[in-house]
C-alpha cells in the first residue's frame, strides 16, 4: 500500500469525527423520556400501551381519514368507554398535558409532527374560553 503513513491515520481520524456524537455523550443515548401518564382515568387507552407506543401515528391517520374523507364520525368503544375519533376529542381528553406527554418522546426522538399547527392543545383550548 502506498502512503500507508497518511491513509491509515487519516481513516482513523475520519471515523473518530464521524462517531464524535457518541463519544461526546459518553456512550449514552441520553435519559430515556418518561411521558407522564394521565392521572385519575385508569390505565386504559383505545389500544394496549405497547401498540399505542408503536402505532399511534397510524391510528391518528386512520381516524383522520375516516372522519374527514369517509364522513365516518362513529365513536370507538373500548371496555365500555366511548371515545370520539379525534386528537382533541379523544386523546387530549385524558392526556391533558401535551407538553408532559406528547413532547417528551417527540423531542427525544427529534420528531416534529405538525398536529398542533391546527389542533389545539388542552392548554390553548382553555386559554380563550367562552365567557357565557
Amino acid at each position: 500500500m502506498y502512503n500507508k503513513g497518511t491513509i491509515i491515520p487519516g481513516l482513523i481520524i475520519f471515523v473518530l469525527i464521524l462517531t464524535s456524537p457518541i463519544w461526546y455523550n459518553g456512550l449514552k443515548a441520553g435519559d430515556l423520556p418518561k411521558p407522564e401518564a394521565p392521572m385519575g382515568v385508569g390505565k386504559q387507552c383505545v389500544l394496549p400501551v405497547q401498540e399505542m407506543r408503536d402505532t399511534h401515528m397510524q391510528l391518528l391517520n386512520q381516524w383522520r381519514d375516516e372522519v374527514l374523507r369517509d364522513d365516518d364520525r362513529s365513536t370507538v368503544v373500548v371496555n365500555g368507554k366511548t371515545y370520539r375519533k379525534g386528537l382533541q376529542m379523544a386523546c387530549m381528553q385524558c392526556h391533558t398535558d401535551k407538553e408532559k406527554f406528547c413532547d417528551t418522546c417527540h423531542e427525544y426522538a427529534s420528531v416534529k409532527p405538525y398536529c398542533w399547527d391546527c389542533h389545539l392543545t388542552p392548554k390553548q383550548a382553555v386559554s380563550k374560553k367562552e365567557t357565557h
Binding site: R64, R69, D71, Q88, L120, A125
Partner: protein, 273 residues
C-alpha cells in the same frame, strides 16, 4: 441491383404509412376511456338544464330573506354562532385582506351578480344577504383541486375540506364562482375570539370555507347558523333531493333564486327574496 433498391423503397414506404396510419385508425374506430368520460360529461351537463333528476342525498338550504329583512340582527347571531363553533378568526377592518369568511353578509348586487339590479325594492336594496358555500352538486372547486383536499362527500353531498391535504395553491378560490373560500394569509389564532375545544383552528397557508357543520350533523344537530335562527324559518336545512324533506316543501311552495346559477355548478343554497 436497381430492382432490389426499388423494392426496398416500396416496402419501406408502405411500412411507414402503416405505422403512421394504424394508431389513427385505432383511435377512430374504438371508443377510448377518454371518449366515454366525455360522453358521461355531456350527460351530466344535460342534467344542469333540468334534464334529469339528481340522485343521492344533497344537503342544501333555503334562506328566506323576508325574515332576515324583518330581523337583521338574526343574521349577526348566525354568523357569530358559526365563528364560535368553527374557531373562525375575526380580523380588524384594517386587515380586510386576511378576512376569513364562512358565512357572511353582502348586498343583493354582490350576491346575485347575474340578476337585474335595476329598480330593486327598497327593502332588498338595503338588505344584507347571508352568503356561504353553496355546496354545489357540480362544484368547480373540487374539479380544480390538485390534491383532492376538497371533495364532494358521497353520503350527504357536502363539499368538504381536508386541511391536512391542502397545499394552499388557491386554485379552488379561483374556481369558486361565489367567493366562498378564504385563504389564511397569516396565522389565524390571534384573531380567534373563543376556542371551541372540539374543533381545530386552521394554519397559515390553507384555504377554508363553510363545511355545512358536518361535525354537528353527525351528532344529530342542525348547522350552527340554522340553529341560531331556529323557530323563525329564516333558514331551512335538509336534503334537497328528498321530496318529503322540509326544504323541498318550502322549495315547492315558494319561488326561489340561486346565486350565479348560470355558472352551471348547481348550487344547493336557495333564496326567497
Amino acid at each position: 441491383m436497381d430492382n432490389q433498391r426499388r423494392k426496398f423503397l416500396k416496402i419501406a414506404g408502405i411500412s411507414a404509412l402503416a405505422g403512421i396510419g394504424a394508431p389513427a385508425l385505432a383511435k377512430l374506430t374504438s371508443t377510448s376511456a377518454f371518449a366515454a368520460a366525455q360522453e358521461g360529461h355531456t350527460a351530466a351537463a344535460g342534467a344542469a338544464h333540468g334534464a334529469t333528476e339528481q340522485s343521492g342525498i344533497q344537503l342544501g338550504m333555503v334562506i328566506d330573506m323576508r325574515k332576515f329583512i324583518e330581523k337583521p340582527e338574526m343574521l349577526d347571531r348566525a354568523i357569530a354562532a358559526c365563528a364560535r363553533v368553527h374557531n373562525v378568526p375575526e380580523f380588524p377592518p384594517e386587515k380586510k385582506k386576511s378576512e376569513i369568511k364562512w358565512i357572511w353578509k353582502t348586498p343583493f348586487e354582490n350576491a346575485f351578480t347575474d340578476q337585474s339590479q335595476a329598480r330593486l325594492s327598497t327593502a332588498v336594496e338595503h338588505a344584507q344577504f347571508p352568503v356561504l358555500c353553496n355546496h354545489c352538486a357540480e362544484p368547480a372547486c373540487v374539479k380544480v383541486c390538485p390534491t383532492k383536499a376538497t371533495f364532494k362527500q358521497k353520503d350527504n353531498g357536502i363539499v368538504a375540506m381536508d386541511y391536512h391535504r391542502c397545499i394552499g395553491c388557491r386554485f379552488c378560490m379561483a374556481g369558486c364562482p361565489y367567493g366562498a373560500r378564504s385563504f389564511n394569509w397569516e396565522d389565524p389564532r390571534p384573531y380567534v375570539k373563543t376556542y371551541n375545544p372540539d374543533f381545530p383552528t386552521r394554519m397559515r397557508g390553507v384555504v377554508e370555507k363553510c363545511n355545512f357543520c358536518g361535525e354537528r350533523l353527525a351528532l344529530g344537530l342542525k348547522p350552527a347558523c340554522v340553529e341560531a335562527c331556529e323557530g323563525s324559518g329564516a333558514m331551512v336545512f335538509g336534503d334537497i333531493n328528498d321530496e318529503k324533506s322540509e326544504v323541498r316543501q318550502v322549495l315547492a311552495k315558494e319561488f326561489t333564486i340561486q346565486r350565479n346559477a348560470s355558472a352551471g355548478t348547481k348550487p344547493s343554497v336557495f333564496y326567497i327574496v
